[in-house]
């Protein structure tokens, strides 16, 4: 119970921010992000672009719950689907060093 509480608390507090070492631009609704450390170009899909934009535009970054709400509104999907997509997307963006997770 304690672990579950701690785990949930920790997860809820995580905020995702743009990796300051990256550069990105949105063209026709798709984000192009360069991770300079790897000199690699990443082209994000529509949901990836939305989450990247949220993370880029908010000084304090974006939480999973905020991302889920944005996905539900933008793509008219149910919350469960949006949460699954957001979790997968954030994990991928962090692995690729496009976003950083804090908290």
């Amino acid at each position: 119970m304690i672990e579950e509480t701690f785990g949930r608390t920790s997860h809820m507090a995580t905020r995702y921010r743009k990796n300051p070492q990256t550069a990105g631009r949105i063209v026709d609704g798709l984000a192009f992000v360069v991770t300079p450390g790897q000199n690699k170009l990443h082209t994000l899909n529509a949901s990836g672009t939305l989450l990247w934009r949220l993370a880029r535009d908010a000084d304090e970054g974006v939480s999973l719950d905020e991302a889920v709400s944005a996905l539900v509104e933008a793509f008219e999907v149910d919350e469960e689907t949006a949460r699954r997509d957001a979790e997968h997307c954030f994990r991928d963006l962090v692995e690729r060093e496009i976003l950083v997770a804090e908290g």
Binding site: P20, Q21, T22, A23, G24, R25, V27, D28, G29, L30, F32, V34, P36, G37, N39, L41, T43
Partner: protein, 279 residues
């Protein structure tokens, strides 16, 4: 290879480069003399110091010929490949030059590879990009053909020049696209491997085409996102520094937004000229 003086000045798309080394040590292989220093207000934009080291004259590593790169302290980028290694300091302010110091094998390709890498960092702040692309000039405009190695860039440019009166080959492999005075201009850089090209020439860019080999000729217009994605694959970019990466992205978006872009599928015959529209 010719012995050279201790210092050579030349220009890439109006960006002045000063290449310095010990007397007689700079191996000349490019067409630098065809592009003398411009001496514009900017002054020297790339200050490149070269030290010759015989021990670096060795077999290529896997991944040749690209440099590996990493950010060093400050605004410096470290570049390494089998025959050259150096440190590039990006300008701290707009008036400063990019300063590079390399130790390299006394070979033209080693030195010029380093010069090209430096140019790929110095040109974007001046509104220019180096593209892996060939080009021809016809009807007063330049048609750029970008593609991976083996896509037919050089083949297409040679075929059009030899088969169409009034068509002039501008480049085979590397081309500079620069935003100038509200339009995009192509510049022919003075790099090695460009025999018979009009080094230093410039021409307004009419089209940008991404090559695909195919059994038929076909040209498909690209939207902004698809064109940008294609273009970014064909830019010579050493973008370890986020600011450089951002400048390259901005220029790529501007170029694809202002110049008609398409995929050009072609086979090896002159019928492709009709599809390009330069008959």
């Amino acid at each position: 290879m010719h012995a050279s003086p201790a210092e050579i000045g030349f220009s890439i798309a109006g960006v002045d480069v000063l290449l310095r080394g010990s007397p007689g040590a700079i191996p000349l292989g490019g067409f630098y003399a065809a592009c003398p220093l411009q001496g514009r207000d900017l002054g020297v934009v790339i200050d490149f110091r070269f030290d010759s080291e015989m021990t670096r004259d060795r077999e290529p590593w896997p991944g040749h010929p690209a440099f590996s790169q990493r950010l060093a302290c400050g605004d410096a980028v470290e570049l390494r490949r089998f025959d050259a290694e150096g440190l590039v300091r990006l300008p701290g302010t707009r008036g400063e030059p990019l300063r590079a110091r390399f130790r390299a094998a006394p070979k033209v390709h080693a030195v010029e590879a380093a010069v090209r890498a430096c140019a790929s960092m110095a040109l974007p702040p001046r509104g220019a990009l180096i593209l892996h692309a060939s080009a021809v000039e016809a009807g007063g405009g330049a048609h750029i053909f970008a593609g991976v190695s083996g896509a037919g860039k050089s083949t297409l440019a040679h075929m059009l020049e030899s088969g169409l009166p009034g068509c002039r080959r501008l480049s085979d492999e590397l081309t500079v696209a620069a935003a100038q005075g509200g339009r995009w201009m192509l510049h022919v850089p003075p790099f090695i491997g460009g025999e018979g090209l009009p080094h230093g020439a410039e021409s307004p860019i009419a089209t940008l085409q991404f090559l695909e080999k195919a059994p038929i000729h076909e040209r498909r217009a690209l939207g902004a996102a698809a064109a940008t994605q294609q273009l970014l694959r064909h830019i010579l970019a050493y973008a370890s520094h986020p600011e450089t990466a951002g400048q390259i992205l901005d220029l790529a978006c501007a170029l694809t937004g202002e110049v008609p872009c398409s995929v050009l599928a072609f086979r090896r015959d002159l019928g492709v000229a009709n599809v390009i529209g330069i008959t």
